[in-house]
Amino acid sequence: MTATTAEPRREPIISVRDLQVRFQTTDRRATVKAVDGVNFDVRRGETFGIIGESGSGKTTIGRALVFLLNPSAGAILHDGIDPLALPRREFQSHRRDYQIIFQDPNAALNPRMTILASVLEPLELARVGSRAERERLGREALERVGLPQEFGERYPHQLSGGQKQRVVIARALTLKPKLIVCDEVVAALDMSIRGDVLNLFADLQRDLGLTYVFITHDLAVVSHISERVAVMYLGQFVELGPTEEVAERPLHPYTIALLSAEPRPLPSTMREAQRIVLQGEVPSPIDPPSGCRFRTRCPHVQPLCTERVPEWRELKPDHWVACHFADRPNFSTNIPETTP
């Protein structure tokens, strides 16, 4: 998926600097560091993938990117400006350009509203045009996502999961956004439908010049659809680079393990003989390990990893990593027998 044209020297569509998002636990005794110091740019017209295991902070980043929640520290710039500095009215209209779609289409659609009414709702809230004008836009959006006219009169329970997700996409499109954050948007869909919805995202991007931030825990999906991908672990990025690079020449031990753990639908002759099986599970974001957060599960851990936080550095052009030892030759293939 590539954008048609992008003037090379413009501001990135989103720029994230030292982003932190913290939550109080329900008993108010502790702080969850859901996102803890993340830096990246989203380039106009690209699909930027974010991958990570559950609880790593993907959804939290996604919600912060569209200002559904406010950063605890750091900054998020849209087109070089800070939306939080805008006057209230301007902030509201600005937000329409940055939409988010979630995993569960059932939660996003009101069961008592017709499909068309659901699609029109954001236009009504934003008071766009006349009634007739809004209806035209709504029907246009339904057509764009490949739903026949008569679906407008139906109710959510009369549609399949894939069709409902199309309605949710249509709804996000009516406001003609520049960017859509897609949070696990195909996870709830059956496998034979997933391809259809992913193809639809690609078509819309080509035709409308959209930018996507594509959040998923599914490696196959993210590496299929994204130009660049960030790997998240316990509230931080551990690696970021062009998808091909990250998938084929990963630099971080966690990325390497993640790629190796993914079950592949391949016959035995085509699969790798050795698999890296990580020990243990992700530690709590309330009290993350000192130094490198991955050290409690890292097969390469050294004494330095406990003491010092690895620097976020551009080890190869456009390819970033946070690991003290990522530049060692044969790092990825040379797995020690035992962990200290």
Partner: protein, 358 residues
């Protein structure tokens, strides 16, 4: 650090003519609903040999879970009847007495589920729950049961089990709870373990641990595994044979390698082709048009007909699960003349491109 071997896939047992451990014949399951009687599945036939690892795959609603539940007679309350036979080591579980069933359930056949939290009782310690399973089925003392429980917890990879045995389920992580469930299911040394989406709720790195554990256990203790999943990758990593279901029927039965390399049913082939792993990056994903028909509007004849690119005159006839040679079975009369693509075409290969433009 541990490294795991991918599943060795030889068709053990089943093909060699060994007597199957489980033999399901003509199984159909009906439910009472407000709209009348639902025929949820029908004509399900398959065998599982002793020690064999069989994956049951298919999309949501195709009947995987209820097939598993029917083997243990654990179907939900509005269950309205069952056709066919479920032969387990000579006993027909579909018609045996409730007493016979109780002696088999949990002891000779065990089951684990997607969400271990719902299967574990929150008010008892995990050690108590595992030990109870053993005490129900065997004549062991409390001390013996506890010792065996500790040993089993260690066996399923729980570090320092003496510290965990008195924990309550909510004190454990998702991966540990699934290990506890596996320990509870294995404590009586079952001949068959039915696992329904055991890793779907887990992260991919934890999933890899659990699948490796299931594979090792099945290999070392010769426990047969019936693994229910919608994930073809999970089947490929874990099982030796793959049974594909569609709209309440078995439509293909083959070794995993055969099914992946040269699927015989257009649905199996379509599913494989639609996976993003197998398509060139950023290319169009081939997809199966339409959707699974609902039970209320099930067509006569081949149930895949409305979505099948190879449908012709003749497909409106009822399709039997027929022998395709070499121990394979397929529910499509055209299988011999169709040459369907599988998972073997590497990305960017011409075959993949051809499918994509269809």
């Amino acid at each position: 650090m541990e490294t795991g071997q991918p599943a060795q896939r030889k068709a053990e047992g089943a093909r060699g003519g060994a007597r199957p451990l489980l033999s399901v014949r003509g199984l159909g399951i009906r439910f009472k609903t407000s709209q009348g009687i639902w025929q949820a599945t029908r004509r399900i036939d398959f065998d599982i040999a002793p020690g064999e690892r069989v994956g049951i795959v298919g999309e949501s609603g195709c009947g995987k879970t209820i097939t598993g539940l029917s083997i243990l007679r654990l179907l939900p309350g509005n269950f309205a009847g069952l056709d066919g036979k479920i032969l387990f080591d000579g006993t027909d579980l579909a018609s045996c007495s409730a007493r016979q069933m109780r002696a088999i359930r949990g002891k000779r056949i065990a089951m684990i589920f997607q969400e271990p939290m719902s299967a574990l009782d929150p008010v008892f310690t995990v050690g108590h729950q595992i030990a109870e399973t053993l005490r129900v089925h065997t004549d062991v003392s409390y001390e013996e049961a506890r010792a065996k429980t500790l040993e089993m917890l260690r066996h399923v990879g729980i570090a320092s089990p003496e510290r965990r045995i008195d924990d309550y389920p909510h004190q454990l992580s998702g991966g540990m709870r699934q290990r506890v469930m596996i320990a509870a299911s294995l404590i009586c040394g079952p001949q068959l373990l039915i696992a329904d989406e055991p890793t779907t709720a887990l992260d991919v790195t934890v999933q890899a641990q659990i699948l490796e554990l299931l594979r090792d256990i099945s290999e070392t203790s010769k426990t047969a595994l019936m693994l229910i999943t919608h994930d073809l990758g999970v089947v490929a990593e874990t099982c030796t044979r793959m049974i594909t279901m569609y709209a309440g029927e078995v439509i293909e039965d083959a070794t995993v390698d055969e099914a992946l390399v040269r699927p015989l049913h257009p649905y199996t082939s379509g599913l494989l082709r639609s996976l993003p792993h197998l398509s060139p990056r950023h290319g169009r994903l081939p997809s199966i048009p339409g959707r699974v028909p609902s039970i209320a509007e099930m067509p006569a004849g081949c149930r895949f007909r409305a979505r099948c690119a190879h449908a012709t005159k003749g497909c409106e006839a009822e399709q039997k699960l027929q022998d395709a040679g070499g121990g394979r079975k397929v529910r499509c009369w055209r299988f011999a003349e169709l040459n369907l693509p599988g998972a073997l075409h590497p990305p960017d290969a011409p075959a993949a491109a051809k499918v994509a433009t269809q």
